[in-house]
Symmetry: C2
Subunit: 431 residues, 2 copies
């Protein structure tokens, strides 16, 4: 079937999917969990083939590690599905209720977006998480995973599709896209695909924006900052900086630039250098930093680089304002933290830094859907419309307005026979 | 100043605008209202020049009418500003509060999007409404109005800028764009402009989507439907159809296609023909319609045309399902209504019709920000992300996550020294 035909099928399925009872969706989720366990050996076998092929093709170590999908990870996604079942159905919630006039009631009701196209990296667990989030939120999904995981993804998509359709979901709600050519075709289908969620590099997100009219929920670079204010609590500085830089260097919420107030720099820079060098972190810094600790000079490029590696740039600033301006100039709007004892200065920082996540006295590594309590996530958004930060079920929803009348015409209001009351209603939409 | 420099200035202003107290914003709104009244004669004089020039340039009648901006309309926008002052500040509201663990609290806080670019038609009142909505919601705005209203717009922008900056708003938060070349430049500035809101034809919206990476809050065609079910209440049919078609034909929420159940067709079609022909509405219909009333045959193009005129297409359908499928195939996702006495069938219609506004037993003309009680509106969105339907203050907001800790590291949770509690917090963010 052509990609156009498959997107049309997904669109058509999305209409019925949007109207499904929570009980049917939860039954389908449970059926998926059960079938994942039943067909576990088949999954592991396919994954071992993917792995062996990828080793031959010299896939890099971290990617190989993420490709692995065996007992523990399968148990993990099954647990994830069972947590998802317990969450409230995000569809059909009354978000606003207003009586326009006697017998004329307006409701804003949450509903699924429709058809979502998601392009993700090699991790097969992402396929399960994303498609079950779409199911729970009533969205059809077109999925394109990494080619390294082709066989694993094929079995996982087959399981999710079969188990859910047997449980009452509409045929075609989930579609696996396998070729790069099909992905490029997908970008053109703005009639049938409502939202694209690319999980990949900033360059990839930009490529999609340049090549598609479909709205994109983008995840740009994670150039995250920690600013150490002059009054930072000495106990907190070292553990937070070490955690934010080294707990998992490949993550987007890892700190890449440390800003430090000139009053605090002489005290902290030597301690930070010692602690980070123990973890093999390479340091580069501005002239003022170099005057205190012996490290390489940073260039302007360093301030805008997401190293995703054991490397950190350091800049000495003379004020809170300079720190905020630096972050708003070079940051990527992902996650930025301040270490200070002053609530007033923390408030200024958190208000003026234009980022999805702004933290006071904790590690940047916390910005993540699971840690935020959203269950699984489809990704982290640095967009400034629709959804920002870690995106769970909420980011897959939109709303429609439902109005219930008994014969009202606008003309009666325009000619002042009737007048708008706009009284808030304290009830859910009856239909 | 170049358009790039002006967008940068607006971006820089947006950071401080986002942090302004409600009282400063309301004081600025009041100052604008006062200055609009004070400089009324100047506005009217400029508007008369615009009008005279447009008459010479043979501007069409309806556009000329919308261009007029004199005493009554000025009083109208001043009233609008005073209602806006009374609305709650949409900035800084706590939308979610979760305790991740003892002393580690997460908040989702509403904040402005940043810089909005709005391209609107000739009505000068739109300039005032849009820029005051942006002010109240804390957004910088780049405005491009119709060239017919150039002189009027220049004075209005000057008043809004002067009055608000005197009252404490940051310099450069509002920028008037005057040339088409500048608008095309604006589409490239994705670094400094966060959202584009074009108010114009579907073709214009598509042009922008093709020529910009900036997210677009689109208003596509308004191909709106009314479906008359077999059990529709006889009292309601004629008044609602007449209102939806003729109350103001140039509006996007005017009905363009009437769908009628085959059981109800023989009774209602003659009545509707008589009533609409009295209002000079031209009717076209399917073969089944033509078998009942003597009108021209509709072509496939009719089902997807927004006439914005005294013209209506009519189709006889054999079931509720056929009506829903027709709407989801040919509609534009704007506003669709069902006339029925059955709550069950109304529910089916309102759930399965994929439109921003779905109505039961009332006129499609109600879908409008003012009628919904949102005060002024920046437009009506048929997008399926961010904001849908009439867009008021809410659609100009996004959120950021603020987290407050006391030294937490992710590693302590990863190594099970600590564990996530994810307890809902019943309080507002303290900063």
């Amino acid at each position: 079937m052509s990609i156009q035909a498959r997107a049309k099928e997904a669109k058509s399925a999305s209409i019925n999917l949007a109207a499904l009872d929570s009980s049917v969706k939860n039954k389908a989720l449970e059926a998926i969990a059960v079938m994942l366990e039943e067909r576990k050996n088949e999954i592991i076998e396919a994954n071992q083939e993917d792995y062996a092929r990828s080793v031959k093709e010299n896939l890099e170590g971290p990617l190989l590690k993420r490709l692995k999908f065996e007992d523990e990870k399968i148990a993990g996604v099954v647990d994830g599905i069972r947590s998802l079942i317990k969450l409230d159905d995000p569809v059909g919630q009354t978000k606003l209720a207003t009586q326009l006039d006697e017998g004329l009631d307006l409701y804003r009701i949450s509903c699924p977006i429709g058809v979502v196209g998601i392009i993700f990296e090699s991790r097969p667990d992402a396929l399960v998480q994303i498609s079950t989030l779409c199911l729970k939120s009533g969205n059809s999904v077109l999925l394109k995973g990494g080619s390294e995981a082709a066989k694993t993804n094929r079995i996982l998509a087959d399981i999710i599709s079969k188990a859910s359709i047997e449980a009452g979901l509409p045929e075609g709600w989930i579609q696996l896209i396998e070729t790069r050519a099909d992905v490029n075709e997908m970008f053109k289908l703005s009639e049938d695909i409502d939202l694209l969620i690319p999980r990949g590099s900033n360059a990839f997100v930009k490529y999609i924006m340049d090549n598609s009219n479909i709205p994109v929920l983008g995840h740009a670079d994670g150039v995250c900052h920690i600013y150490i204010h002059h009054d930072a609590n000495k106990e907190l500085v070292e553990p937070i900086v070490v955690d934010a830089k080294t707990q998992y260097v490949a993550a987007c919420n890892t700190v890449e630039t440390l800003l430090i107030n000139e009053q605090a720099a002489p005290l902290y820079l030597p301690l930070i250098k010692e602690a980070l060098e123990l973890k093999n972190v390479e340091l580069v810094g501005c002239e003022k930093t170099k005057a205190i600790i012996d490290i390489e000079l940073a260039t302007d490029a360093d301030w805008q680089t997401e190293y995703v590696d054991y490397k950190l740039s350091i800049k000495v600033v003379s004020s809170l304002e300079e720190a905020i301006t630096h972050i708003n100039t070079y940051g990527s709007g992902h996650t930025d933290a301040i270490l200070t004892e002053s609530e007033t200065d923390a408030k200024t920082f958190m208000t003026l830094v234009d980022a999805a996540n702004v933290f006071w006295n904790c590690s940047t590594r916390f910005s993540d859907g699971f840690r935020y309590g959203f269950g699984a996530e489809v990704g982290i958004s640095t967009s400034k419309i629709h959804a920002r930060g870690p995106v769970g079920l909420d980011g897959l929803m939109i709303y429609k307005y439902k109005m219930i009348g008994n014969g009202q015409t606008v003309n009666d209001f325009a000619t002042n026979k009737l007048s708008y009351k706009h009284t808030p209603l304290n009830k859910n939409c009856p239909l």
